[in-house]
Amino acid sequence: MGAIIRCRGVEKIYRQGAVDVPALRGIDLDIESGDFATLAGPSGSGKTTLLSLIGGLDRPTAGEISVDGEPIVKMEKNRLADLRLHKIGFVFQAYSLIPVLSAAENVEFILRLLDLPMHEREARCKEVLREVGLEGLEKRRPSRLSGGQQQRVAVARALGPKPAIVLADEPTANLDSKNAEELIALMAHLNATSGITFLIATHDSRVMAHSRRRIEMMDGKITADERQDATVAA
């Protein structure tokens, strides 16, 4: 299987006033299509930084990154936005829904940016909301959804366009353990059924338990990268 994500010699140095903060110090990483990978490591090890570079939200100081075969490091802003729209789904830690839109509208908003015809859009919207178990809550605005429900909407929204990969940064950090467990089981299930690739940065050992590939980071470097059999979801 081909690599959806390919990083070569990726470095990122943040400049804070006169001080240079090296966040990534040479990352070589391939993520295979269909994988369910977690990115673990202590705080400050560079997980968020790596995800933001892969998602084209920021540019590396050095190195090459390609997404689905397209090099993105020098890609122009609008093309990057388009690439994110079509190929990358994001799930952030929290508060990532558009507050004035209902659950269904949040999902549909992205599908409309993609210019899908209305019937396809509605069908797809229904489908993903059902997949994440939010039937009956479609019309609720984010402020009337629980944290766990909001994250499910975010997952549904990320999956809507059938992206090449979903990047999630600490998706369970703001959830209680029951909701965290359910969310992670849901993502693992979706990976298994739809074959969509997931790369999840997390501290959460329950998340890691589901992963098939554990990548460990420390001080901006990958220190371990091992495959494992995922614990079967409940």
Partner: protein
């Protein structure tokens, strides 16, 4: 573009009401701005119309014909023959709605007690009733009946100054055709009201009476004409010039420069007011929209992270401002219409009549909102408002998608 509009317009609408207080304040600022621009426009237009009417409907008409040297020196020597041939045909064409002949010379009027300098006019009463409001302003006695009327109609104020009254006799002296001083006695048939200046200056008798008093046969001093509603005054003036190359033909804009100045400068006054109000509105709009954008920096970053192009974010925020300013403009127009209701029958300036007359306006102003002006100024404010809001919108479009990653 259309599908983007359909997608973003409802979002823009909902975003407006996330902070209703701020939105309402901006709405109010825009509404009051538009309202004040329209009030200014309405009053100025009423004033312009009134001063134009006051002058044109007194004696000027929309244009006049004289012997070429008459306007420089309006004496009896500078008279002209009755219109005939091509000029007569041109005056009788349908684009000229009415025209009258007049004798008009400087004169002196004398009562038993006093003497005053006036302008003595011989007029055709039926025609005057059409081109001038003066015949209807006779408040004591009656206006002249026809061109052979031998009575005289003078201003009520002049009568007071001459210490005379209706039915009394006065003597009018003026230079006759042969150079001698012609003198004739008249009985006062009517007194007219109206502008102070007109009351003191003009005295009227029948056209034929004046012609015979001055010994000028059928000659006249001036022709005053009005144009048909859809006709172009400039075209008519050139047609008349063509028909009578040796006569002087002037449109009202040349005969009544004050009224013309009011009309031509009113647009610049409105533009000035619009500019002032607009600067105030722009400060309000930019201020609130910048606040709204700064509060949502993370959201704009998030939208970009999700794949929305910066240009679309600019469009989205601009749409919000367009809605906001647009509603404000509509409210302003509505306020204006409500304001006009009490004045629909006219605004009586009686309490400052003397002051108003100084600027050539009549006593009562008739405010009326020109739909063309309302639409024009509304669109200008709307477009400028959107322009001002481009700055906040660009700030929004510049939001860095990386902020989406920031915790909480």
């Amino acid at each position: 573009m259309m599908s983007r509009f359909m997608l973003l317009a409802p979002v823009a609408w909902r975003n407006l009401w996330r902070n209703p207080r701020r939105t309402l304040i901006t709405l109010l600022v825009v509404a009051i701005g538009v309202w004040s621009i329209l009030v200014f426009d309405v009053i100025l237009n009423a004033w312009v119309t009134s001063s134009r009417e006051a002058s044109l409907r007194l004696l000027t008409g929309e244009g006049q014909i004289h012997a070429t040297s008459y306007l420089d020196d309006p004496n009896v020597a500078h008279r002209m023959s009755e219109p005939e041939g091509r000029l007569l045909r041109a005056l009788n064409s349908p684009v000229v709605s009415a025209w009258v002949r007049r004798v008009r010379v400087p004169a002196v009027i004398q009562s038993e007690y006093r003497t005053r300098a006036v302008t003595f006019l011989g007029v055709e009463p039926p025609g005057e009733r059409i081109v001038s409001d003066l015949p209807s302003q006779v408040v004591v006695g009656h206006y002249l009946r026809d061109s052979d009327d031998i009575g005289i109609v003078i201003g009520r104020d002049l009568a007071e100054k001459l210490k005379t009254r209706l039915g009394k006799r006065v003597i009018v002296m003026a230079q006759a055709a042969d150079g001698h001083l012609a003198e004739r006695s008249f009985t006062i048939a009517g007194l007219f009201d109206g502008s102070q200046a007109a009351q003191d200056e003009f005295v009227f008798t029948g056209l034929h009476t004046a012609q015979s008093a001055l010994g000028i046969g059928h000659d006249i001093s001036e022709i005053s004409f009005d144009t048909a509603p859809a006709a172009s005054l400039n075209d008519i003036v050139s047609a008349l010039k063509h028909a009578a190359p040796s006569r002087g033909i002037e449109p009202w804009t040349a005969l009544s420069p004050l009224a013309y100045a009011m009309e031509s400068f009113s647009q610049s006054y409105i533009a000035m007011w619009l500019a002032i109000m607009f600067v105030l509105m722009a400060i309000g709009i930019i201020n609130t929209q910048l606040m709204a954008v700064f509060e949502r920096t993370r959201e704009f970053g998030l939208l970009q992270a999700l794949g929305m192009r910066p240009g679309m974010i600019l469009f989205q925020v601009t749409l919000e401002s367009a809605l906001l300013v647009g509603i404000g403009v509509l409210v302003g127009v509505l306020l204006m219409l409500i304001t006009l209701v009490p004045f629909r029958h006219g605004l009586d300036l009686g309490f400052l009549a003397a002051g108003a007359e100084m600027f050539g306006a009549g006593r009562v102003l008739y405010p009326h909102l020109d739909p063309g002006d309302a639409v024009r100024y509304s669109l200008i404010v709307w477009a400028l408002g959107i322009g001002a809001a481009l700055w906040p919108a660009r700030m929004a479009a510049k939001a860095d998608p990386i902020v989406a990653m920031a915790e909480s």
